[in-house]
């Protein structure tokens, strides 16, 4: 199996963004519809009350199923940010949308700023009844958040229904650490797993277990897990990086990782069998991040961001077997 790159498919400079947004189309997350693929992503506005800081909003682009033709771009956020003091007050990034009955469940990662560290996150639930154009949150608080052995930074929820169970793969923080006296604390996070009967009430069956092995050691950060079934085996794609000096140093920045499982519980890390590598001189020359793997009309696709965490859009690849 290998990925054939389709190149950058959405560029905010070319295709436009919501009014007031200044760039970024991060963490593309597909919803496969009859005649199109709706791809949700997070984009940024400047925060009018906090100088130099951003607010992330979720928008979408509708694309033809070839992932080449842009059919339209949302002209307003699909969900408002949370109220004062709530977990998603300062941004929603990312959002994963899943059909459940007649509704669409959107699993949001809400961001709120802290004082001693930059941010805390939690996973919220928002429901759409208009085909995914707008979402209403299920409450002011999260459906999955910090617990005894996952003490902070719960986010990046990716939900799949297998049989009559809902599975969620997500990330939880393991450490906030200052790597030099003059540096702000940097965070480390790993991939976890929760289950639910209804997609609303979640149980962390094995709280605190890091389900995917690291290759960079204790300071490996893993983010944005997504899972697809190929020929009866479950494949997880995610991104990983070093815990610090990862923003501008291509040697330490995000790359795409892979693991597989037969039973959705035990995962074997195996980046080499399903790898996607930087292309020198191209939009993904220094960084590959925020992947999402999905099936559409019998084919398997990968969406991902390239350099600068998706500031200039996202691209795609198709699986060749």
């Amino acid at each position: 199996m290998k990925w054939r790159k389709l190149g950058k498919i959405f560029d905010p400079d070319t295709h436009g963004l919501l009014a007031g947004c200044v760039g970024w189309a991060q963490s593309p997350q597909p919803l496969v519809l009859e005649d199109r693929v709706r791809i949700y992503f997070s984009t940024r506005m400047l925060d009018p009350v906090a100088e130099g800081k951003y607010l992330s909003h979720v928008a979408y682009v509708d694309m033809a199923k070839d992932l080449e033709t842009v059919l339209g771009v949302a002209d307003e956020p699909v969900i408002a940010l949370g109220a004062l003091g709530t977990f998603d007050e300062h941004g929603i990034f990312p959002m994963h949308v899943v059909p459940v009955g007649d509704a669409l469940y959107g699993y949001t990662t809400g961001w709120s700023r802290r004082v001693s560290v930059s941010v805390e996150t939690g996973i919220g639930l928002a429901v759409s009844r208009d085909g995914g154009r707008s979402f209403e949150r299920a409450g002011d608080g999260p459906v999955l958040s910090a617990t005894m052995h996952e003490p902070f930074l719960v986010g990046d929820g990716h939900v799949r229904r297998v049989g009559d169970r809902f599975h969620m793969w997500y990330i939880f923080g393991t450490d906030w650490k200052r790597y030099a006296p003059d540096r702000e604390p940097d965070r480390t996070y790993r991939i976890g797993h929760a289950e639910s009967a209804d997609g609303i009430h979640w149980t962390k069956e094995d709280e605190g277990r890091r389900i995917v092995a690291d290759v960079l050691g204790e300071e490996e950060c893993q983010a944005l897990p997504s899972v697809v079934e190929i020929d009866g085996r479950h494949h997880m794609v995610f991104c990983f990086r070093h815990s610090y000096d990862f923003r501008t140093n291509p040697e330490r920045g995000y790359r795409i990782g892979h693991a597989w499982s037969e039973d959705l519980r035990t995962w074997t890390r195996d980046d080499a069998t399903l790898t996607v590598q930087p292309t020198a001189g191209d939009w993904d020359s220094d960084m590959l991040c925020y992947p999402n793997v999905f099936a559409c009309d019998g084919r398997v696709y990968l969406l991902y961001n390239g350099n600068a965490f998706g500031r200039h859009g996202f691209g795609a690849a198709i699986l060749e077997r």
């Binding site: 004062l84 977990f87 700023r113 004082v115 949150r137 409450g139 617990t147 003490p151 605190g208």
Partner: protein, 321 residues
């Protein structure tokens, strides 16, 4: 109406001949644990405020003579719990605390404090264990009971009780942050959760006590005592604005229940109020804790400045009925 005989301020950090820096002022949220010869009263206190006027809270205990509760035997040498690490929910405070016998020794449930950017703080409830009720070890780095859509922030004021096999946790959950004169002030309501083991909690999911003085009434310190098949709850409540003075500050309320879920609020029955004049409890009475010692019933409570000068006691005259 109940009749309480006030015994006065029984413990004041400021009245100690010497005291460590972490015990500069405040003795908040008293909660007792009975021993053969003494009544251990856990409380929360503060070192002097930091540069921006921000406090941290610590928790400690004072032992009172079981035969004469106005007599202080000793004060703990150290706080019973360390503060949390960078980015953890209890990095800036452990307050209040409630201790019960259980497991292999003692269990403490406490609120941890962290600082936020848009609002001053949020809190979450953690758990710690002890074999001697002097020093406690945290059961994890995160909270024991998570935020949920209907309990989005400021989970605090835990009071743990064991009326039979089950564990009951009474606590408060934030409802909204109300901006008063440009300052966000939290509105919180009394909630409950039940557990078979004190670790895995099921939230009741409803406010226990209807709001009386205004819809945004804040309710705190739900303290429940079982006698003759009736649950008696003492709590405190305040207005949402201008509550730092006498007129709109904390008062003690009362409710009763026979099933723990349906509560009849009857504040007129409580029988304790602010004192006349300019005494230590003339502006407010707050954070009640009701307990029985050798056939007598006492209330420990806070006065002006929510316990800045310490806590006092009152003794019930007649029956709790």
């Amino acid at each position: 109406m109940l009749r309480w005989r006030k015994l006065g301020l029984v413990f004041s950090p400021q009245a100690l001949p010497e005291r460590p820096p972490w015990l500069a002022e405040f003795a908040q949220a008293p909660a007792t644990l009975l021993f053969d010869d003494r009544v251990r009263v856990f409380f929360s206190c503060r070192p002097p405020a930091g540069p921006a006027g921000m406090y941290v809270s610590r928790s400690a205990f004072v032992d009172l003579d079981r035969g004469d509760l106005t007599r202080v035997l000793c004060v703990s040498d150290e706080p019973i719990l360390p503060l949390g690490g960078t980015g953890e929910f209890d990095e800036f405070g452990t307050y209040p605390v409630s201790v019960v016998r259980g497991g292999d020794g003692y269990r403490a449930y406490y609120a941890g404090w962290t600082r936020c950017e848009s609002v001053p703080f949020t809190t979450a409830i953690g758990m710690a264990t002890s074999t001697d009720a002097v020093t406690f070890e945290k059961a994890g780095r995160g909270p024991v009971i998570p935020y949920t859509p209907d309990e989005p922030f400021v989970m605090s004021g835990p009071k743990v009780r064991r009326f039979g096999e089950a564990w009951q946790l009474f606590y408060i959950a934030g409802r909204r942050w109300k901006v008063v004169d440009g300052r966000p002030e939290p509105v919180y309501k009394i909630r409950m959760a039940t557990s078979p083991d004190g670790i895995t909690w099921t939230k009741h999911g409803e406010d226990l006590i209807e709001s009386r003085v205004e819809p945004d009434e804040a309710q705190a310190s739900p303290d429940v005592l079982l006698r003759d098949g009736v649950y008696h709850m003492f709590f405190c409540y305040r207005y949402s604005s201008n509550f730092r003075g006498r007129e709109f500050g904390y008062r003690i309320g009362y409710a009763r229940s026979t099933d723990l879920t349906t509560w009849q609020r009857d504040d007129d029955h409580v029988g304790i109020d602010v004192s006349d004049g300019d005494g230590w409890d003339a502006e407010m009475v707050a954070y009640p804790h009701v307990f029985e010692v050798d056939g007598r019933t006492y209330m420990a409570y806070l006065g002006n400045g929510v316990g800045r000068s310490g806590f006092g006691l009152a003794e019930l005259e007649g029956d709790l009925a």
